[in-house]
Symmetry: D2
Subunit: 328 residues, 4 copies
């Protein structure tokens, strides 16, 4: 059994706690969070110890590995502490808000033997992961064009948007990673930012965007984002190759089609929101983390993946602000 320490007791920590409870080879032993009501509730629910100082999790002898669900500004510090304590760590994305912070972290980690996984959950979504596997098996031939449609059901509160780092770092970052998952490194970015909702204009952030990415071989990825979508969380992916096309479609809570005098075969709205839509992805992400620990290998997503997605996000912001293509 891998004994897990959870750093953070918030929403995503609760998702991970549930997954650990159901996992045959892992068990939760400690939760650390300065917010007492949350940490005690979580600890009680799973019958485990808790601490108010997250640092104690890294130091605890009974903890074999840690899952970092702390706020983004703490990520770099927590990743370093886990690495120095010799404990494998899974950190939720993003690593940090600025490329240079991540680069400094990568620098500091040089020479420290460590197993750090970055939680790009979509790579573990059953649909997207299977598409990736099909591509690897040659099912589509050469990947030529990637089309990503990614729209949130509704905009977060303005207060959130104002500190979010902007749509590209906050929302598109997942799509940048998905593009990299299928195309590898990106060399050129062009982004158009949109301001569709008049109420959000004064946040200074875009609430929709269209981005074109190109890799060194001239393969493209097109990303279409919006902070709102009437039908729920719209998450689609098309991989166009010279032999076949794959489409990853939205998920729904049931498999009903309704037909009446106005329309036919109408399906239910999309799962809303990411905790539901990517529930299985979060569980599989942990599966990969545990497997990497057991097999003493690097997990399939690294801090470097986080750094590269962040660099694309910064390039996209620059492109959208200047109206020019940005080369990476």
């Amino acid at each position: 059994m891998i004994r897990i320490g959870l750093v953070g007791a918030g929403r995503i920590a609760q998702v991970h706690a549930r997954t650990i409870a159901a996992h045959p080879e892992a068990e939760l032993v400690l939760v650390g969070d300065p917010y007492e009501p949350a940490v005690t509730a979580l600890a009680e629910k799973y019958g485990v110890r808790y601490c108010l100082d997250p640092d104690e999790v890294f130091a605890d002898d009974e903890v074999d590995a840690v899952i970092i669900c702390s706020p983004t500004p703490m990520h770099v510090d927590h990743i370093l502490k886990a690495a120095k304590a010799g404990k494998p760590a899974l950190c939720e994305k993003p690593v940090a808000m600025e490329t240079e912070t991540v680069e400094k972290l990568i620098e500091e980690l040089k020479g420290v033997e460590h197993t750090t996984m970055l939680g790009f959950n979509r790579r573990f979504d059953p649909t997207f992961a299977k598409m990736h596997q099909l591509v690897a098996e040659g099912a589509v031939g050469n990947v030529e064009q990637v089309t990503i449609i990614s729209r949130d059901p509704a905009a977060p509160p303005k207060e959130y948007i104002e500190v979010s780092g902007g749509i590209f770092k906050d929302m598109t970052i997942h799509d940048f990673d998905t593009a990299r998952f299928f195309l590898g490194d990106i060399v050129s970015v062009f982004a158009v930012g949109q301001n569709l909702d008049p109420d959000l204009v004064d946040t200074g952030d875009f609430d929709a965007a269209v981005i074109t990415l190109t890799n060194a071989e001239g393969k493209t990825a097109t990303i279409t984002n919006s902070r709102h979508c009437s039908s729920g969380y719209d998450q689609r992916l098309e991989i166009f190759g010279d032999k076949a096309t794959l489409n990853g479609e939205n998920l729904r809570a049931d498999q009903i089609r309704v037909s009446n005098g106005q329309y036919t075969d109408a399906k239910s709205v999309y799962l809303d929101f990411f905790l539901e839509r990517y529930e299985e992805a979060y569980a599989r992400e942990l599966g990969e983390f545990f497997a990497a620990i057991k097999e003493m290998r690097s997990p399939s997503t690294s801090i470097d993946d986080g750094a590269k997605a962040l660099a694309i996000a910064e390039a996209a912001e620059l492109s959208a602000r200047t109206g020019k293509v940005v080369t990476l």
Copy 2:
């Protein structure tokens, strides 16, 4: 060019006239119908001759082949006249309303060399015909269960129902032929008749039915009929085999999917009604008729097919009335 004489100038005759006009190897030359406004309008539209006595069509020297679109009670007489005039004939279904009438016709045709095709249009529907071809090519392995859902958009007027011969001869007859198309001859029939619409009860006819057919090998066909369907003309077919399943789906006027806050991927209602839904089937039916003439062979649907579908319809009526299985 095959020179065609049309017997009848009604709705289906107009459909055939249009198909002939567009066909490279056939041309309309004569239309015969006692109803003057209809026959003159049709003749004028296509710039052809007309006659008020349909019998003149069979006698006309310029007519190579006839298409019989007269009322059902005239079919037997017209088929015989065409056969005796040595003109290939396509007759719309049904041949007649009673099995014995058809049997008498078959008797009378013995010894008369003739090419008579019965218009079971659904066999020529692009979807159903392709399914039949796939089955013939072995795509499903052994056909084991056939499921037919066939619902009209709305009940015809009561006056029509009262003289229709009953739902099984009027409506299900097409489905009986479809069952035979995939299973061959049927040996056993069980039917449940339903009276769903209180307004139709006093017609004495059922307005919905569920029928189970079995062939000699124990393969089954299930037919579900209704005189109404909120979404239009509901015409579906499932062929279940030991290697694969084929589903033939409904047709729509466009390929739009609508997604909003209530539902997603809603499609347009079904094509309504048979002239639209089976427009292409009617054209291909004529194509088969012309090809059979040209190749001097029997057409793929015969009077015998009509007789056998009618026999099943009579068995179904008996079963629904007695609550017993009827063996053919």
Copy 3:
């Protein structure tokens, strides 16, 4: 917290144990099964007590409610013991193999205050349950025709079939309950049994069947069963009403569509088999059981539902063997 005792440590008991572990208001405390390796493994996995004599579960003071996952022949005895011990019980279907056994049980339970729920899991499937709710809300108007397609991926071993009680009690029983879920009590049954797989003929059982059920109002349900289906576990349901039609479709492990030179929009095969397909249904079934206990009310499925489904199964067997309609 409701403290649960599990009677049985087999496959379905393990599913329930997992659900209990994840449920916020229930906890597993005891597992009883005479098969030591299974019961100790399960007890160890969840850190709970075990006993080799299932009867101890009913007697245990710490157990508030029991879930009966013992072999079918033990069900009646276990239901009675739970009832007499005053412990609410959820029993997996079927109650028993013969209608008279169930009737005797119902007789014995008279006067004993008890909460016994029968595990007809499909009623709790998110798709079927939502369809039922939509029907209750009037979304389809009057239900007129129910079409159930229910095919297993592959036949069980012959040894299983020989003691299964026959396809109608073993497999169709679920579909009979689904028909009752939407149509209420059934008054007439007609069944055609098929023997499609030559290897299974000497089991004496049918390996496929088509059944027509009618309720007192003349509404119909058509059930199409097969012991095999090339694409997996084929579980579909159509509710046809005068205002709308609902279709419940199959589930898949991902949401991929593949398009290439041979076909387009091809989806993955169906989830295979019932533990996967109805995983969520099993969890919701437990949810209903726990809710009924908490709210001190009768659960939504009763022993009576089991008795009635069993009676239909017996009528179907009789109909298929005699070729006659059977009235209930």
Copy 4:
């Protein structure tokens, strides 16, 4: 009856001739084409006069209106001749290969009263036209993002590509018009050209492209093009609005779904190629032309639409060659 003169007897002229033959209010009277075998075959098929000098069509007294299907370099001359002869004209797209040629034509037409329609057939496709109508009725709310996927089944011969004017003028021009159909005038263009097929590199043209268009209100259209697609002619359109999303899907020759041990619900490949896919659109385009003549109004697509699509194509070419955004 509107008496039609056809200028040209090639492939698209034959499509139009067939539509005219089936149209109740138009009749073909004259075909003009210097290529004798084609013009005589077409004239004979429909029993009409022909001439080898297309100019005679414009001069003919019996011709009420002309349809210009001559090679692109003749379009401007033929449009002018029709206008000066006072005959309404429908001209196939594109008007010309260079914006300045079209502008000169528009200049010359000033002061000449004329009815000239440009054949942007996709606007008349039943699916796209209905989407446009739904948008006009407010079904999607504000249109915010348009996504166009448009891929040909296979690249044309290299000789064709070399004189085609480049992918943007030859292929994407239709998509530019579709974008304008939903977003109105475009103010900014960014295009990435791709060279995916090594065999086509030496044509000097791109064989795939991704283009982002923006209108004055900041609404976007994303176009993804490829000269090949394994599944046929891939023609899809998504209109994303704040209240709903519309998806226009591909067309197929039948409505079959195939399910077997490898995949489920596989559909047939897409209709291939534009004459099949847009067959109905061509017919409706003519319907609009005839209606405009009858109602003495301007047709819904004008030379100006041609000029504007061409200007976007030139901007896209410039953007793809320079890697810069081009403002219109």
